[in-house]
C-alpha cells in the first residue's frame, strides 16, 4: 500500500459511482467505456453462474457414488460450465477490457464504429440469454462444450438443448466477430498522431493480433454450427456415418475454431501482463519487439495445431507427426514472452500491489500450464493423458491460472481509471491469497488423478485408492476459490462506494489512458500528450525533470 504514490488531500472525490444516468442511457449507449463496463458486469455475472456450475460439479465429485446430481443433470452442468466460461466469460471479458481501454490507450475519442459496438454487446447478451433459456426449454445441452458428433446429433441428443446451444453460439460469434472488426479498424485508423505501430502499448498490439485471430477462427465455428443445425433440423448427415457423413469432420472443423479460440482467450491476457509488469517494476518491457513478434508467431501457429486435440482418434502417423511438431513449436514463442516478462522485472524496483501479485502468480501458474501442454504435444504422452483429469488440470492452469489471474491483475490495475476509486489493497491481498491457494488446491491434484486413470466428464468414479481423498481436496479448493470471488465482489462493491480517490494516474504509469481523468470524460481526452515513444507519459515526466 505504501507503494502507491497518492496524496489524497490533493484529489477531488470522483463523481458518485459508475451507475449515473438513467437505465435508458445504459441501454442505448454507444460510448465504448459504458459498453466496456456492460461487458465486464455481464461477464462477471456469467462468471458467477459458471462458478456455481463448477461448485455443483465439485460437490457431486466430492466422494464416490455421490447422488447429489443425477448423471443427466451433471452432464448438463458440465456442458453449461464449459460453454459459459469460454463464450460468456473469458472471451467477452477480454473484449470488454479491450473495448474500454483501446480508444483510451491510442488517444482516440471512441471506437471507430460505436453503433456496431453496441450491437455487438447486445447480440452477445442475447446469445447468453438463449443459451440459458435451454434450461427453461426442459433440457440444457449435455454433449460437452465441444459437442462431438454423433452424440450431438438428433439420434443421441433428442432434446432441444443442443439447438439452443448452436443458435446461442452463432449469436455470440456474430458479436465477437463484429467487435474484432471494430477493434481492428479502431487500432489501424484512430491512433493519435505519433503513435506508430511500433509505439503501440503491448495490450493494444495483442488485441490487434487477437482480433485478426478472431476473424479467421470464429467463421470456422459458424460453419460447424450451421452444419450441425442442418443435420439436426433438416435431417442431413454431415456428421453421421449412416448417411455417409463423418464424425471426424466435426472434430476437424470444431477444433479449427477451438484451438485458435484458446489463444483468443489468452493473447489479451498476455497484453495485460505486458502492461502491468513494467509499471510495477518501474522499467519498460524487456524486448518489446520480440514480445510483439512472438505474438504474431503464436497467432499464426495457432491456426496450424488443431489436430492435437485428435491425437487419440487414430488419424495416422502423418497427422500425428505434423501436429506434434507444430504444437511443440508453439511453446517457443510463449516461452519467449515468459522470459521477457521475467527479464522486465529483473533489475527493477518492484511494487507489491495486488495487481502485481496476480501478474507474478500468472507467470508461475501459466508456466506450469504451458509445460503440461508441452507434455501433450509430445504426442505419445497425449495417448495416455488426453480425456483424463490431467487435461482438466492443464486447461484450468492456462485459462484460470493464466487468463483469469491476468484479468484480475488488469482489474486491480484499471479499476481506478474506470471508477475513479482505488480497490482496497488490503482486501485485494486477501482475495489474492485465497484465490491462489484455492486454485492450486483445486487443480494441482487433478494432474495426479489423471495420471492414475480418472477419465474426464464423469459424474462419479469408482472408489479407487486415493481418488476419494484427492477429489475431496479438489472440491475444498473449489470452495476456497468461491470464497475468494466473494471477497473480490465485496471489494468491488465497497470500493465503488467508498474507495480512496484515485486521481488521473495512481500508478505513475506511462500509457495514454493515464493522461486523462478517472473516470475519463465522455470524449476521453481534453488534450492528448505528444507521442514520441511507447511510453508518452514517461517521456513527459522526464522532460519536466520529475522521476
Amino acid at each position: 500500500m505504501s507503494d502507491i504514490p497518492i496524496t489524497p488531500r490533493l484529489l477531488e472525490e470522483p463523481a458518485p459511482c459508475a451507475r449515473e444516468g438513467a437505465w435508458l442511457e445504459w441501454i442505448s449507449t454507444v460510448d465504448h467505456k459504458r459498453i466496456g463496463i456492460l461487458y465486464l458486469a455481464t461477464t462477471l455475472f456469467f462468471f458467477a453462474v459458471g462458478g456455481v456450475e463448477a461448485l455443483l460439479m465439485r460437490i457431486q465429485l466430492a466422494w464416490p457414488g455421490n447422488t447429489f446430481l443425477s448423471p443427466d443433470a451433471y452432464d448438463q452442468v458440465f456442458t453449461m460450465h464449459g460453454t459459459t466460461m469460454v463464450f460468456l466469460v473469458v472471451v467477452p471479458m477480454l473484449l470488454g477490457l479491450a473495448n474500454y481501454l483501446t480508444p483510451l490507450m491510442i488517444g482516440a475519442r471512441d471506437m471507430a464504429l460505436p453503433r456496431l459496438n453496441a450491437f455487438s454487446f447486445w447480440v452477445f447478451l442475447f446469445g447468453g440469454f438463449l443459451l440459458y433459456f435451454s434450461f427453461v426449454s426442459g433440457h440444457a445441452p449435455a454433449a460437452g462444450w465441444f459437442s462431438y458428433a454423433p452424440l450431438s446429433e438428433k439420434g443421441y441428443s433428442t432434446r432441444y438443448g443442443l439447438d439452443y446451444w448452436a443458435l446461442a453460439l452463432l449469436g455470440i460469434g456474430v458479436g465477437t466477430i463484429a467487435t474484432a472488426i471494430n477493434l481492428i479498424v479502431t487500432i489501424i485508423n484512430l491512433r493519435a498522431e505519433g503513435m506508430t505501430i511500433r509505439r503501440l502499448p503491448l495490450f493494444v498490439w495483442m488485441v490487434l493480433v487477437n482480433s485478426f485471430l478472431i476473424i479467421f477462427a470464429l467463421p470456422a465455428l459458424n460453419a460447424s454450427l450451421v452444419m450441425l443445425l442442418i443435420d439436426r433440423q433438416l435431417s442431413a448427415h454431415f456428421f453421421t456415418v449412416m448417411g455417409g457423413g463423418s464424425p471426424i469432420l466435426w472434430q476437424h472443423y470444431f477444433w479449427s475454431f477451438g484451438h485458435p479460440e484458446v489463444y483468443i482467450m489468452v493473447l489479451p491476457a498476455f497484453g495485460i501482463i505486458s502492461e502491468v509488469i513494467p509499471v510495477f517494476s518501474r522499467k519498460p518491457i524487456f524486448g518489446y519487439g520480440f514480445v510483439a513478434a512472438s505474438t504474431v508467431a503464436i497467432a499464426l501457429l495457432s491456426l496450424g495445431v488443431w489436430a492435437h486435440h485428435m491425437f487419440a482418434v487414430g488419424l495416422g502417423p502423418a497427422w500425428n507427426y505434423a501436429f506434434g511438431a507444430s504444437s511443440l513449436l508453439i511453446a517457443v514463442p510463449t516461452g519467449v514472452k515468459i522470459f521477457n516478462w521475467i527479464a522486465t522485472m529483473w533489475g527493477g524496483s518492484i511494487r507489491f500491489t495486488t495487481s502485481l501479485l496476480f501478474a507474478v502468480a500468472f507467470l508461475f501458474t501459466f508456466t506450469i500450464g504451458g509445460l503440461s501442454g508441452v507434455t501433450f504435444a509430445a504426442f505419445p504422452l497425449d495417448w495416455q493423458t488426453t480425456d483424463s483429469y490431467y487435461v482438466v488440470a492443464h486447461m484450468h492452469y492456462v485459462l484460470f491460472g493464466g487468463t483469469l489471474f491476468a484479468v484480475m491483475a488488469g482489474v486491480y490495475y484499471w479499476f481506478p481509471k474506470m471508477s475513479g476509486r482505488m480497490l482496497s489493497e488490503r482486501w485485494g491481498v486477501v482475495h489474492f491469497w485465497l484465490m491462489f491457494i484455492g486454485f492450486h488446491l483445486t487443480f494441482l491434484i487433478q494432474h495426479i488423478l489423471g495420471l492414475d486413470g480418472m477419465p474426464r466428464r464423469v459424474y462419479t468414479y469408482p472408489d479407487r485408492p486415493g481418488w476419494a481423498v484427492m477429489n475431496l481436496i479438489s472440491t475444498i479448493g473449489a470452495f476456497v476459490i468461491g470464497i475468494s470471488v466473494l471477497v473480490f465482489l465485496a471489494n468491488i462493491v465497497m470500493s465503488l462506494r467508498s474507495g480512496a480517490p484515485a486521481g488521473d494516474n495512481p500508478w505513475n504509469a506511462w500509457t495514454l489512458e493515464w493522461a486523462t481523468s478517472s473516470p475519463p470524460p465522455e470524449h476521453n481526452f481534453d488534450r492528448i500528450p505528444p507521442v514520441h515513444s511507447a511510453r508518452p507519459l514517461w517521456d513527459l515526466m522526464h522532460r519536466e525533470g520529475r522521476a
Binding site: A112, L113, L116, I177, A180, I181, N182, I184, V185, I188, N189, L190, R191, A192, E193, I215, F216, L218, P219, A220, N222, A223, S224, V226, M227, I230, D231, L234, S235, A236, H237, F238, G243, G244, G245, S246, L249, Y253, S256
Partner: protein, 186 residues
C-alpha cells in the same frame, strides 16, 4: 489521424471473415462430393446451362454496381439511381433463378436429407443466396436513402462498402459455380 476510410476497412475485414466461412463450406462440399456414391449428384441433378444464365445476371450486376459507383463519384445522381436499381433487379433475377432451381430439385426429391450432395449443395448455395439477399436489402436501403437525402461523403463510403461486399459475393459465386456446376458440365 485517419489512415483509411473506416467503413471500407471494416467491410474488408468483414469480407475476410466471410471468406473463411465460405472456405469451410466449400471444403465440406468438396470432401463429400468425392465420397458420395448413392443418389443424386451434381452430375445427374443440376442444370449448368440454365444456371449459367443466372450467373451471368449476377456478374452483370457487379458491372452495373461499378457503373453506379462511377456515376455517384461523377455527381450524376440520376445515373447512380438507375444503375443501382439495375443491380438490384439483376440480383433479384439471380435469386429467382436460384429459388426456381431449388424448387425443381426438391420436386425431384433432392434435399439436404437425401444424401450428402443434397446437404452440401443446399448449405453452400443456400448461404450464398442468403448473402445475396442481404446485399439486396442493403442496396434497397441505399436506394431508398437516395430518394430522401443528398448524398455526401458518408453515403459514398457506404456505397463503396456495399459495392465491395457485392463484388465479394459475386467472386464467391464464381468459385461455387466453377466447383459445383462447371466441373460436371465440362
Amino acid at each position: 489521424m485517419k489512415r483509411f476510410d473506416t467503413v471500407r476497412l471494416a467491410m474488408a475485414v468483414f469480407i475476410a471473415s466471410e471468406a473463411v466461412f465460405f472456405a469451410f463450406l466449400i471444403a465440406a462440399y468438396l470432401f463429400f462430393s468425392a465420397a458420395t456414391v448413392h443418389g443424386p449428384t451434381a452430375r445427374n441433378s443440376l442444370d449448368p446451362p440454365r444456371t449459367l444464365v443466372f450467373t451471368l445476371c449476377l456478374l452483370a450486376s457487379s458491372g452495373t454496381m461499378w457503373l453506379a459507383e462511377r456515376r455517384l463519384s461523377a455527381a450524376r445522381f440520376g445515373g447512380f439511381v438507375l444503375w443501382l436499381a439495375a443491380t438490384i433487379v439483376l440480383g433479384f433475377v439471380f435469386i429467382l433463378g436460384q429459388a426456381t432451381e431449388y424448387a425443381g430439385l426438391i420436386m425431384k426429391s433432392v434435399t439436404p436429407e437425401r444424401n450428402l450432395f443434397g446437404a452440401t449443395f443446399f448449405t453452400l448455395t443456400g448461404f450464398h443466396g442468403f448473402h445475396v439477399f442481404c446485399g439486396l436489402v442493403s442496396m434497397c436501403v441505399l436506394l431508398g436513402l437516395g430518394f430522401t437525402r443528398t448524398f455526401g461523403e458518408k453515403e459514398a463510403s457506404g456505397l463503396a462498402a456495399i459495392s465491395m461486399y457485392w463484388h465479394f459475393v459475386d467472386a464467391v459465386w464464381i468459385v461455387i459455380f466453377s466447383l459445383v456446376y462447371l466441373t460436371v458440365w465440362l
